[in-house]
Subunit: 553 residues, 2 copies
């Protein structure tokens, strides 16, 4: 049902097959009213929306089942119908049962239809939430059976309820998956989104997504704000719907990437859409109410369209993480939600490409949890085995890959030379500075056991520990990171990686290069490394001199 | 010359008066070619550019001084002319002297003109840079005298040279200010910007701006990338110019807020400008070369226009800091440049309003250096004097202002009650829980000396320390901050504020409420507070019980 073209984190660009054609996801489905639609459907299509959603319950009340929904709306692309669950949420109950709505949606030719569910909304006591979840599951079970019998080719969207009760979300997802659903729809996030509880929303999405394979598409109900979309896509949502574009417009709320602004507070239009580039705030404010609403609604739709295209281009370029983190600074409650990125790093790895063309941009401590970096640290942790007894742990070099740099060569030669001296293979030679190549040639003839006694690696806040032999492995040499202002305290993943590497390889001595930013943190690891002899050497000093003065092997 | 309408940080929205009318700043001046201009000037005007810049040297070579520059370009709004300094930078020397160019620019009716300078560029040895600075100063000195004599009404822009040699930038700025210039133009940043050395650029701007009063406008030469503009505005630049829109277009580079992308790499157009909303990447790629260049150039201009309007709206809303920090995540080298915000917090205060309508959004440690917060910490540090002997230092409350919250009342009552008990004014009364109002009434009749013996305050990563009496002072109650994921280690300003408050008020005992995130940091301040008795109480415990069990007064 969903063919995946590109992916990054748990976000995918896919081709969703419906009976009225293929829709590229992530897709935003504007809510249209089957009777009183203020923005013409032609206009929606022109802006670039290739799928719509409308309300099946209102359609049923208004038109009965005589006409196909595509004829009613005069739109020949895919249409999703929501069953009336929203009306149930608002009015308590409606005068129709779920088998009727199932048959009705099949009859009117919905491309994607939703069983008549009982939304949990937000803030419901647990016992009530449980009850609503069970009612929804019963409706879902009946509906998919009815839907199959109708043979209409409609895709049935499984309504996941449970709200902030995450175990209910998990339970719902499991049950719906067992019922054979292929398309899922996470319900009830509207109130949570309105309260800016983005972390709760994120946990709901991830909870559902951990049950539902990423090959099966997932819709997020009611998500119509550019603020929500990047994170929701990154966590695995494929389609979105909302009437926010028109509802906000009626309220005089102008959408921007970072939030909405009342048009009364706009002195400038920081937008270049066809609406905004042909007017100015004063003109806009002076329009008649209907004209004003129409213009703002169109602008809002362009803003959503741009957001979707921005997310897609970020997926193609493999920089969805950067996009999501940057966008999260729009609101502190969105920034808080980044916690989810830390918690589900392994989940986000699934769809993240193993290699990317583009360098990783690394600016904040949260970036240490990028899947590419988590993956690299795991590679070092599980795949790199060293039988050396000593580790020389350097600070992150400027040149990449490290083992090709001149600094690496000088240090390596100093170690080799010193090892020979210490083991009595060669006399101390104070005049060997200009003589490195020569020494190197000599080294090549030495016995392996002696030259292999020292492991070189460097430590990096983002990568953890990078042994010389993997310093060219992606992404070790493919990072553009912040150079100043890094506080090593903020990188627990680095400390864990270093400690694990030293312990698991049984190094007896570790020589650590430090500067005044790293000294404290690097000294703190001694407590975890009882029995390992730790020495510290200042970066400002010449490490080769230090190597000469200490015992190497 | 510059009338300031709104300001935030060192950014201003101003009205720049020229002889061809008023231009609102910050303004981007597209570079137009006096002979071969590819994008029509009408189009530039339609997009919303109300001032242009062109090259005086090329104009002189091509047309002589017979015609007014406004007639040559057929544009009746303000025109700035650059003198040919760029040609000097590229070709070494040009066949004209600075007095000629001064008279020429006055003659052709430039609204803003630049003395023929000798740009330092970047990477010049110091002695050469010094020499170029002196040559530029000589030209500037002669030019302003000639310009005054010509009486043309042209505004002369003082060319600040020195590049990355900051002392030369400072020296140039001082000398030019003494010469009587009213408009300044920071030269030579192009190479620095091309190398993404944004921190160096930022330091150049601040160095110049610390000399030049903010009432006098400053131009930044060659800044034509949306990436550079927000920070440059925030640091005090008013006008910008660049030919990047067309140069990038010729290179197939499509500008986005966060950088440029080759159109070959675009699968989506994450833009809704009139160009992009009427085409798609495939169509764009298939155009003839000239058409493609024209379309991309127009798109690039819209992107710059949007950036300028975005910055302006951020200034109006008082959230320029948030805008700059968010935008800085576009590139690690831009994120590094945020260091400047930390270093020049007091400089940025000058134009930051004392009160803002909107809550401050606080998401990252860098935000502790916001001018509003620096100002608040200074207020507490210099203006709040307490003669109490004990400080009860609580964690940041959920409710604001703190002194109106029920939690505050309960704690305050517990302290009062305990003080009375300890001082023997009242017997210990275990059943006083439901009796607080009553106790409170009693307290009002107690002697001041006893009830005033305890100072209550709370600590906050962003605000520092907030004594109860200023917990309603702006911005203490006007912050929407990140609640989870804050590492207290990252807030040195908080520790300094706490230590200073305790020391300067001579508290003898401090009771500190802590949780597992703050305990370590709050214990670390003991070393700085020799002689002060420090007690720690877990937040999870009932602090009122703790107060009952310890001695209060």
């Amino acid at each position: 049902m969903l063919e995946i073209k590109h992916s990054d984190l748990a976000g995918r660009i896919g081709r969703l097959k419906t009976k009225h054609g293929i829709v590229e996801t992530p897709a935003f489905l504007p809510v249209v009213h089957p009777v009183r639609q203020e923005i013409s459907i032609d206009e929606l299509e022109r802006i670039g929306f290739d799928m719509l959603i409308t309300n099946a319950y209102i359609t049923w009340k208004e038109y009965g089942d005589a006409k196909d929904i595509h004829d009613i709306l005069n739109y020949n692309k895919p249409i999703m119908t929501d069953s009336g669950g929203y009306q149930v949420l608002v009015y308590g109950n409606i005068d129709v049962d779920h088998p009727t709505m199932a048959r009705f949606q099949a009859k009117i030719g919905s491309d994607v239809a939703v069983p008549l569910d009982k939304p949990t909304g937000s803030g419901l006591p647990r016992s009530k939430a449980e009850q609503y979840v069970e009612l929804t599951l019963k409706a879902a079970e009946d509906t998919i059976r009815i839907g199959d019998n109708e043979g209409s080719g409609t895709i049935w969207a499984a309504p996941i309820q449970g709200g902030e009760h995450l175990d209910l979300v998990e339970y719902s997802s499991k049950r719906l998956l067992e019922m054979g659903y292929e398309f899922f729809a996470l319900g009830s996030p509207t109130e949570i989104m309105e309260a800016y509880e983005f972390y709760t929303l994120a946990r709901m999405i991830v909870t559902a997504r951990r049950v539902i394979p990423l090959s099966k598409p997932m819709h997020l109900f009611g998500a119509g704000h550019p603020l929500t979309i990047p994170l929701a896509v990154a966590l695995g949502c494929d389609t979105f719907d909302s009437a926010s574009y028109i509802l906000y417009a009626k309220d005089g709320r102008y959408m921007l990437q970072n939030g909405t602004v009342s048009i009364d507070d706009l002195e400038y239009l920081p937008c270049v859409c066809p609406v905004c580039s042909s007017t100015d705030p004063r003109e806009l404010k002076e329009l008649s109410n209907d004209e004003k609403i129409a213009k703002i609604a169109l602008h809002n739709l362009y803003t959503i369209k741009r957001e979707i295209d921005g997310v897609k281009q970020a997926i193609v370029e493999g920089r969805l993480w950067e996009y999501v983190v940057q966008r999260s600074l729009a609101h502190p409650k969105l920034a808080e939600a980044n916690h989810i990125l830390k918690e589900c790093s392994e989940y986000l790895e699934q769809c993240t490409p193993i290699f990317k063309d583009r360098a990783l941009f690394i600016s904040l401590p949260i970036d240490q949890y990028r899947p590419e970096l988590t993956r690299f640290r795991r590679l070092v942790c599980t795949n790199i085995r060293s039988d050396k007894s000593m580790l020389v742990l350097l600070m992150e070099p400027e040149e990449h890959p490290f083992y090709t740099s001149s600094r690496y060569k000088v240090i390596k030669d100093a170690i080799m030379n010193k090892m020979q001296v210490d083991s009595g293979e060669k006399n101390s030679d104070d005049s060997n500075n200009g003589n490195n190549d020569n020494n190197n040639d000599n080294n090549d003839n030495e016995s392996r056991s002696s030259k292999d006694n020292v492991q070189i690696a460097y430590y990096s806040p983002f990568l953890g520990i990078v042994p010389e032999e993997v310093s060219d492995v992606y992404p070790a040499s493919h990072i553009v990171g912040i150079r100043h202002g890094v506080s090593y305290d903020d990188f627990p993943t680095m400390l864990n990686a270093i400690i694990h590497f030293i312990k698991s390889n049984g190094f007896k001595r570790v020589l650590v290069e430090v500067d005044d930013r790293s000294i404290q943190v690097m000294k703190s690891i001694r407590d975890e490394l009882q029995g390992v002899e730790m020495e510290y050497c200042w970066k400002a000093e010449d490490i080769t001199k230090y190597i000469k003065s200490t015992k190497i092997n």
